[in-house]
């Protein structure tokens, strides 16, 4: 599977994260894993989620 994110855009993500990856490591994660992650990211966004849908853990002031 090929990722939709270009190599240049992926490198920008890595730089923003501040991770000291080598060229080979970037190529491996981009080419080997990122397409799967794109599918997962699409899936968790869903199609019809209500704007107000809450996350599983929501802040509770007495819960500290």
């Amino acid at each position: 599977m090929q990722p939709k994110t270009s190599r240049a855009d992926f490198e920008a993500l890595v730089r923003r994260a501040g991770l000291p990856l080598t060229e080979a490591q970037i190529a491996d994660i981009h080419g080997g894993a990122w397409a799967y992650m794109e599918v997962m990211l699409e899936r968790v966004r869903g199609q019809d989620r209500d704007r107000a849908a809450e996350p599983m853990h929501t802040f509770k002031p007495e819960g500290t």
Partner: protein, 463 residues
Amino acid sequence: MAPHFTIAEASALIAARKLSPVELTQICIDRTEALQDTLHAFILRTPDRALAEARAAEARVMAGERRGALDGIPIAHKDIYCTAGLATTGHSKLLQDFVPKDDARTVTMLAEAGTVMLGKLATHEFAMGGPSFDLPWPPARNPWNPAYFTSGSSSGTGAGVAAGMFLGGTGSDTGGSIRGPAAFCGIAGIKPTYGLCSRMGILPLSFTLDHAGPMAWTVEDCAMLLQAMAGHDATDLGSANRPVPYFRSDLGKGAKGLRIGVVRNFHETDNRADDAVLKGIDEAIAFYKSEGAEIRDVTLPSLQDFQAAGFIILVTEAYAVHEKWMKSRYNDHGELLRDRLAIGGLMSSADHFQAVRHRRELCAATAAAMADVDILLTTAAPTEAPKIDNIPKWASLAKPGFTMPFNVTGLPAISICSGFGPSGLPISIQLVGHPFQEQTVFRAAHAYEQATEWRKRRPALAQ
């Protein structure tokens, strides 16, 4: 070799003064001595300490002061459980010299129950990166055939229990790390309900997905270990403040009247299991039917949906735990851990929160689907174990696992042996209950286990 004992058998013999805890511990030490170089289940062995603890247990027995059913039972801990004064490495170079000042809460609870601690066990690096060959210790190997994978991350516990190096042990489960090794090593392993066992003092991987739990040869043994591990801990913010039931209370009740939902979409469609695993599931269904259980099909959201929410939450939470070292000591991690964890650093906050919103939807859908059943039935792994030297780095992303749904939902789930595949390696079924209904999970699993022959077979190298 010496005979194998379950925890229940050994406990009864110790109580009757027909088996000495010292003798039992020595059997485990001798078996470990014979098998460790092949299986690499242990990172650190503590035989002198174990024998001292066994002698103390024996003295209590002789004085009529036995602490309970686990007094004198040899166990070992996954090496992400902190042990005071004893190295706790997470199977990582980064913590090679870390010696905690305190025990994990569950380590203390098991020690107070009188268990004898034989040492610290191999894991995937920080419970995520494995099987890795570039760490200070080799990965554990499958006792049914050491060329094969144990699954992980509680790999040493799975290998050691199956081989009889100890009678039970601790595992942790963030996406399947108890149930995966239980499945591939042919033992029983339960991931309890989220909040039932304290996580305090266990190296964290993912705060909202991590579960502590026991692994052992039988369902009953898991129930016995869980009895000592469960309970409220005010220092763990996820800990549930509720009474701990007697987990063996329903073991003799059989399967009659249980309502069992078969999650066919998981093992027939979403990630179709191989023929041997499907046959094992069908035979389990036939057993439950014959015992008077009510069987129906239940459809849950797809494994792919659970994988997406679960993995994104896992990898972002895990990255938050490890961010400092990921930036400053990237190459001191093993390749598998660092490259998998790096993905967490590339997610946005919106990505994380969409996953957590999806988690709520998945939990609601699962609760609705389970409304009219007591137990869900599927497998814990779709195949036998693969060869240990042939695990692609990104395999877990390519196909969704069967265990993550119950980390995402926090439900109690057990993996038990359902036979053997064409390579002679164990296969599994997975049984899942409602929150804090571990007794029902144990009841269903024990009924099946008692009706099958699988507990009579041990790995050939451990005979």
